[in-house]
Structure formats: C-alpha cells, structure tokens
Point group: C2
Chain length 150, copies 2
DNA sequence: TGTAATTAATTTACATGTAAACTATATTTG
DNA sequence: CAAATATAGTTTACATGTAAATTAATTACA
C-alpha cells in the first residue's frame, strides 16, 4: 500500500515532508518485521543488534562502552540488555583486571550458533532489499547523511 | 558525521543493507530531535502526532479508531495517550449517542494555540529538509513505498 | 428472538526506552 | 600525595510501546 493510503492523508505540505514521514513510517514498518521474525527466538531487535556487533568482533570481547557506540539505536539500558542475553546464555561477561571499572562482553558458542540460524531466517530481508538498485541505495545513504549533517 | 563513522562500521555486505541501516539510524536520529524540541511542551512525538491529526480534522472530531489509523506509528495505548492530552487540556473527549461504544476526540482551543506555537518551534525541520531537492524527495518516497510493498 | 460474531474502546501486564542518580575506579592537577 | 575530576558501568525510576484480556455495545443470522 502506498504511504498516503496507509495514513489516510492525501496531501503533504511538500515532497520533502512526505518523504521524511514516509521514511519514518517505513523504518517503523521494518522494525515491526524484524521484531516479528525474531520473536520465536525470544530476541528483541536491540538484542539482535548487540549479538551482531559481538559476532563482528569475535573472538575479541568488547567493553560495554564500545558496544553502545556501535549500536544503531540510542543507548538503551545496556546492563539490563546484557543481563537478558546472559540469561539465555548467548553472551559472556567478564571483568577487566587492569582497569576494574571495565567489563568485557563476548558472544558465546550458543550465541554464534543462534546467529547462523538467524542468518537464514533474516535472509528474507536480502530479497526485499533487492527492490533497491545499488546506485539507488547509494543515493539513499547519501541523502540520509546529508539530512543529519546539514 | 557519516553513518559509517557513527556506528564505527566501515564495510557493509551491500549498498542496500547500508542504506537500510542508515535509514533506520536517521529515522531514530530525527525522532530524537523531535523529542528534544517537544520536551519543553511536555509532549511526546506520538502525542504531537495525535494533535496534528486532530487539528487536520478540526472542527470535526474523530473516533479513537480513526485516529489510530492515521497515526504514523504503530498503535500505542490510545486511551492512555488521550488521557494525558486531556490532563493537559489539549483535547476533548465525548461519547457518541448513536453508537455508545464509540468515543469522539477533538482538539481544544488550548490545543490549537499550542499547535501554532509548535509550528514555529518545529519550523527548523523545514530548513533541514531543504537539503533534499523536490525530485530527490519524490525518489525517496517512491523507494520507501517499493520496499514495503514489494 | 436470542445467540454468536464483530467492533470499539479500555484495562492490565509486562518489556523496553530513557534519563538521572549512584558506585567504584582511574586520572589529573594543585 | 590528596582532592578534584573524569570515566565505566550499574541501579533506579518512570514513560512509553505492545500485546492480550476484558467490557460493552452492535450487528448478523439460525
């Protein structure tokens, strides 16, 4: 369905506003899709994001701070989030000896296994994303950067 | 700052994935900006969205159901949201006589006044949005629609 | 007509987002 | 070196997102 039908608004004060609202709507739509696919695995998109980051750095562990930095979304309650991942035995937490304020978090074998399962589950997104051409995608990225940094 | 610096990730498996993540990141960034600007008025983006919808239909009142439909974001707890707007005396709620299940909500004079104040406060977004050209904006809208409906 | 199905909204319960206060440790500097 | 400052992470508190259960009224239909 077209955006303007979805929110039952036919006219917008400018194409730019329409594009922005459409972008916000689509981001939320995608988040919903992701939530749905992750639900059987008892993971939220945020938790999945952390697992992705940890897999990326594996076998190196990361500090809570540097995980935060890499996250797509605003700083949630990291301690709580990591607690839940530990409860599911997907990550490991260990203190640092040199600097005792620092806590390292790493992905566990369980976590790695789950992630490869998820790769398959989430591969539907690759298909969906094919509707964007490569050049088009680069254009979109560039437009997004420009909006934020202007 | 460019997206890849923001999340400290240099390479992506495809330009499409990068564009998608950038879009999600930017949507969240924008939401943050909006939250910030609305904070002095004790309004959340969701509440603002409802006020916009109600101003759009003014002087006609809308049912809770049709407000939901028009909202940009997934159905929150409408009753609670409207309760808060009523507590701030920005909207009015009244039952329907013909169908006693239905509840109408309309914007109050207070609400209208606040909205015109907000028009000024939020006009910074119009400036930011000028970084997108008209054609570019239409391209983005079209790409968003395509992603969801593919 | 009366029972079932549907619809509209509310209520409840719980997860997550978000900010602020707090604790512990490390670093800087007078 | 001691006090002040900065940093890392945790804890707490509250707002909001989200889904499911509930209530009430309406509509369909056997």
């Amino acid at each position: 369905m077209k955006f303007e039908e979805s929110i039952k608004q036919e006219t917008f004060s400018s194409p730019q506003i329409k594009a922005l609202l459409n972008m916000m709507y689509t981001a939320n739509w995608f988040m919903g899709k992701q939530t749905e696919l992750l639900k059987p695995y008892k993971l939220s998109p945020q938790q999945y994001n952390v697992l992705r980051i940890l897999r990326g750095s594996h076998p190196n562990k990361l500090t809570v701070h540097s995980i935060k930095e890499r996250m797509l979304y605003k700083t949630p309650n990291m301690t709580r989030l990591v607690d839940k991942l530990i409860a599911q035995e997907l990550v490991i937490r260990e203190g640092c000896i040199e600097d005792r304020r620092v806590v390292y978090v790493g992905i566990s074998q369980n976590g790695l296994d789950l992630m490869s399962q998820l790769d398959e589950t989430l591969s539907v997104f690759d298909t969906i994303l094919q509707t964007w051409g490569e050049e088009e995608a680069e254009l979109i990225s560039e437009a997004m950067d420009r909006l934020r940094t202007q």
